[in-house]
C-alpha cells in the first residue's frame, strides 16, 4: 500500500476541475493507455494578459496521477503563461505534501502536459501531444524517454541513482536494459563530460547481403529475442529486400493485439540503433 498524504487522498477522492473546456485555447496531452497513465489538460487563456482563466483535466491513471493532475489545474489558474511555465514537477509534488518516490513520474506527467498545452495555445489551439522530438536520442525504448528528458529530471531534482531516474521518468522501469545507459547519463551530468563521439556505422545499403543477414540476426538474437521470450514469443528473420527487413513473429507474439507495436518499438528500434538508421521492418504473417 502506498503511503499517500492526506492531500493526495483528498484530491484523488474529490478531484477538482475534472473535464474538458469547450473551445479551449490550449490542449495538451501526454501518455497513453499502453503506458498506464495519460493526462489531457485544457486551458482557457486571456489573450491580452496571457492569464490562464480556467483549466480542466482528464486523467487515466492511479491515485497520484489523478491528484497531480487536479492540483496542477488549481496551481495554474490565475497565473500568466510565463508564470505557469515555471512550475516544475517538484512544485506539483510539494503542493501535494509529497509523493512516494516511485510515483514521482506522475508529477512529471503534469509538467509535460502543461508544456504541451502552452505550446498548443501558441500554435493556435490545436491539441498537442507531448512527445520526444524526432531527433531526440531515445534512451528507454519501453517508455520512449529521451536523454534530454532524463538530463532535465536529473538536474531539476538532483537525482543520483538509476532508481531515482526511473521513479521520476519511468525510464528503465520495464525491461531494464537501458539502466547502464542511464547510469552513464547520470555520470555525465555530474562530471560535465562532453558526449563521446558516435562510432561510425556503415549505411545498411552499402553492406553485402551476408553482412546484412549477420548484422540483423545478431541484433535479433542479442536484443530482441530475450525480451520476446519472456512473454512466450519470438521472432524469425524471413527476408531482406534492400533496406527492408522482413520478420515473422512467433509463439505468443503471433496474432497479439500489440504485434504492430512490437515490430515498431522493439524490432525496428533495435535494428535502427544497432545496425543502421535507414532500416525499415515489415511484418510477414
Amino acid at each position: 500500500m502506498w503511503d499517500y498524504t492526506d492531500k493526495v487522498k483528498e484530491y484523488f477522492k474529490n478531484p477538482k476541475n475534472v473535464g474538458e473546456i469547450e473551445n479551449a485555447d490550449g490542449t495538451g496531452q501526454v501518455g497513453s493507455l499502453v503506458c498506464g497513465d495519460a493526462l489531457r489538460l485544457t486551458i482557457k487563456v486571456d489573450r491580452k494578459t496571457e492569464k490562464i482563466s480556467d483549466a480542466k483535466f482528464q486523467t487515466f491513471g492511479c491515485a497520484s496521477a489523478i491528484a497531480s493532475s487536479s492540483i496542477l489545474t488549481e496551481m495554474i489558474k490565475g497565473k500568466t503563461l510565463a508564470e505557469a511555465s515555471k512550475i516544475t514537477n517538484a512544485d506539483i509534488a510539494s503542493e501535494l505534501g509529497s509523493l512516494p518516490e516511485e510515483k514521482m513520474h506522475c508529477s512529471v506527467m503534469g509538467m509535460e502536459a502543461l508544456e504541451a498545452a502552452v505550446k498548443s495555445y501558441r500554435a493556435g489551439g490545436k491539441p498537442i501531444v507531448f512527445e520526444e522530438d524526432e531527433s531526440a536520442k531515445i534512451v528507454c525504448k519501453c517508455f520512449n524517454v529521451s536523454e534530454e528528458t532524463i538530463v532535465k529530471a536529473i538536474r531539476a531534482n538532483n537525482l543520483k541513482t538509476v532508481d531515482d531516474v526511473t521513479h521520476f521518468t519511468k525510464a528503465g522501469g520495464a525491461c531494464g536494459r537501458c539502466k547502464p545507459d542511464i547510469q552513464k547519463i547520470i555520470d555525465k551530468v555530474y562530471s560535465c563530460e562532453t558526449p563521446a563521439a558516435q562510432t561510425g556505422k556503415i549505411p545498411f545499403g552499402q553492406m553485402t547481403v551476408v553482412g546484412k543477414i549477420k548484422a540483423v540476426e545478431a541484433v535479433l538474437e542479442e536484443y530482441v529475442r530475450p525480451k520476446l521470450n519472456m512473454d512466450g514469443g519470438s521472432v524469425e528473420l524471413v527476408d531482406i529486400e534492400g533496406g527492408t527487413v522482413k520478420v515473422r513473429l512467433l509463439g505468443a507474439c503471433r496474432g497479439c493485439a500489440s504485434s504492430g507495436g512490437t515490430i515498431k518499438m522493439l524490432v525496428e528500434r533495435a535494428l535502427k540503433e544497432k545496425v543502421s538508421n535507414d532500416i525499415k521492418v515489415e511484418q510477414v504473417i
Binding site: K13, G36, G173
Partner: protein
C-alpha cells in the same frame, strides 16, 4: 477498525481461530527444541510429525516423509529448482511457463544468466498452457520442468498430470508450484506423477512464514539451506513448531473443506456475472471452463486498477490488481501480458479471491458499490469518450 470485506484470499488468508488455538501452547508452554535429548523438547517432535501426516494427506502424498517444511512457498520453489539443476549438472536445459509466480520466474532468469538454456512456455488468450510448444522444446537434455498447478492471478488450472507425463518420458524432473491450488481444489501429488511440489500454509488459513515442499521418495535432492540435520537433512534450521502445528490443523480443515467447493464457486459466479452485466466494457480474464473456484479476475476497460482498489478500500473492500501502479513496477501483470490482454484492459484488472468465509451479503455489497466507482473513474478518464461511443 471499519468492517473489512476480504476478497484477497489469493494474497493471504485469515489464520483460522482453530489454527491459532492449536499453535498457542507451542510458544510459551511447550517451547522446547524437537532435536533436544530431554523429553520437554523431544516430545515436540511428535507434534511436528503429526502435522506432517496431515499435510501429506491434504496434498495426496503417499508417505509423510515426502513432506519438507520450509519457511515459505517461495523457499520451497527456490529449493526445488536449485535442487533439480544441481542434481543434474550435465543437463543445461530447463522449462517453465511465462506466467509463473516470481519465486519461480526469477530463479529461472537467474539460471539463464548463468548459462542455462530456458524455455518459457506461453499461454493463449484464455491463459491456457501451450502444450504443443512444450512438447516440441522438451528433450532428453531437459533437467527440469516447473509449471504451476493454478495461476494466482486468473485462477486458470494447468494440466499438471499431462505435463508431468511428458516430462517423465524425457527423463526430466517435474516440479509444480501448487501454492494456489492446494486447499482450493482436490490435488494429489502421488496420482499426478509429480516429483516435487510447493505449497504454503497462509493461503489455507494457516499462519505466515511456513511452507512446504513435497519431494517424492527416490527423487534426487540437494538441500538449499545447509547447517543442520532437521527435516532429515533436507532443510536446516530449528523447526518452526507453532507454525508447523498450525499448518497441520489448517491442512486437516482444508482437506474437509475442499470436498465441497460448490458454495464458494456459486458466490464467485454470482459476483462475476453481476459485474459483467452491470458494467460495460468488463471482461473476465482466464479460462472460465477450468479455474479455481474462488478466483475472479475482471478487467474494466479505460480505468486504472490502483484507482479502483483505493475506491473499494473506502468501503472496506479488499481486492488486488494486475495494474502497473499497484506493484511499484511500471508494467502491468506479466500474466495478463502473456495472455495478450489489451493494454487498455490490462491496467484496469481487478482480482477478487474469495474464501470459505466469504458471505453472500459481502458479494452483494461489492456488486452494489463497484459499478459507481468504475463510472466515476471513467468520467475522469480521457478515454471515456471512446467508451461512450
Amino acid at each position: 477498525m471499519k468492517k473489512v470485506i476480504y476478497l484477497d484470499n489469493n494474497a493471504t488468508t485469515m489464520t483460522a481461530p482453530e489454527v491459532v488455538a492449536e499453535m498457542l501452547p507451542y510458544f510459551s508452554e511447550k517451547y522446547g527444541n524437537p532435536s533436544s535429548m530431554h523429553a520437554f523438547g523431544g516430545e515436540n517432535k511428535h507434534a511436528v510429525e503429526a502435522a506432517r501426516k496431515k499435510v501429506a494427506n491434504l496434498i495426496g502424498a503417499q508417505y509423510a516423509d515426502e513432506i519438507i517444511f520450509t519457511g515459505s512457498g517461495s523457499e520451497a520453489d527456490n529449493t526445488a529448482i536449485m535442487s533439480a539443476v544441481n542434481s543434474f549438472p550435465n543437463k543445461k536445459h530447463i522449462i517453465t511457463s511465462a506466467v509463473e509466480h516470481p519465486a519461480v520466474l526469477e530463479v529461472f532468469k537467474n539460471l539463464q544468466s548463468k548459462g542455462w538454456r530456458v524455455d518459457y512456455i506461453g499461454v493463449d488468450k484464455f491463459g491456457v498452457f501451450d502444450m504443443e510448444t512444450f512438447r516440441s522444446v522438451i528433450t532428453k537434455n531437459t533437467a527440469l520442468v516447473s509449471v504451476m498447478w493454478a495461476n494466482s492471478e486468473t485462477g486458470t488450472i494447468f494440466p499438471v498430470k499431462e505435463i508431468a507425463d511428458i516430462a517423465k518420458q524425457n527423463n526430466a524432473l517435474f516440479h509444480t508450484d501448487a501454492v494456489q491450488a492446494v486447499g482450493k481444489i482436490p490435488v494429489s501429488a502421488e496420482d499426478s506423477g509429480i516429483d516435487m511440489m510447493s505449497f504454503s500454509a497462509h493461503k489455507i488459513h494457516g499462519s505466515k512464514g511456513i511452507g512446504g515442499l513435497y519431494v517424492k521418495r527416490g527423487t534426487r535432492f540437494l538441500p538449499l539451506i545447509l547447517g543442520g540435520h532437521q527435516e532429515k537433512g533436507k532443510r536446516a534450521g530449528t523447526e518452526n513448531v507453532p507454525s508447523i502445528v498450525g499448518f497441520g490443523k489448517a491442512a486437516e480443515m482444508a482437506a474437509a473443506r475442499v470436498k465441497d467447493i460448490s458454495k464458494i464457486e456459486a458466490l464467485r459466479d454470482k459476483l462475476e456475472r453481476a459485474l459483467v452485466e452491470k458494467i460495460p466494457d468488463a471482461k473476465v480474464n482466464g479460462d472460465q471452463r477450468n479455474r479455481l473456484p474462488n478466483t475472479s479476475n475482471i478487467s474494466f476497460g479505460y480505468v486504472e486498477g490502483e484507482s479502483i482498489l483505493l475506491h473499494l478500500d473506502e468501503y472496506g473492500i479488499c481486492a488486488s490488481s494486475g495494474s502497473a501502479c499497484t506493484s511499484g513496477s511500471l508494467e502491468p501483470s506479466h500474466v495478463l501480458r502473456a495472455m495478450c490482454v489489451d493494454f487498455s484492459f490490462a491496467h484496469g484488472s481487478v482480482r477478487f479471491s474469495l474464501s470459505d468465509k466469504t458471505t453472500e451479503a459481502e458479494i452483494d455489497f461489492v456488486i452494489e458499490k463497484l459499478p459507481g466507482i468504475i463510472e466515476k473513474l471513467r468520467k475522469i478518464s480521457p478515454f471515456g469518450r471512446n467508451h461512450a461511443k
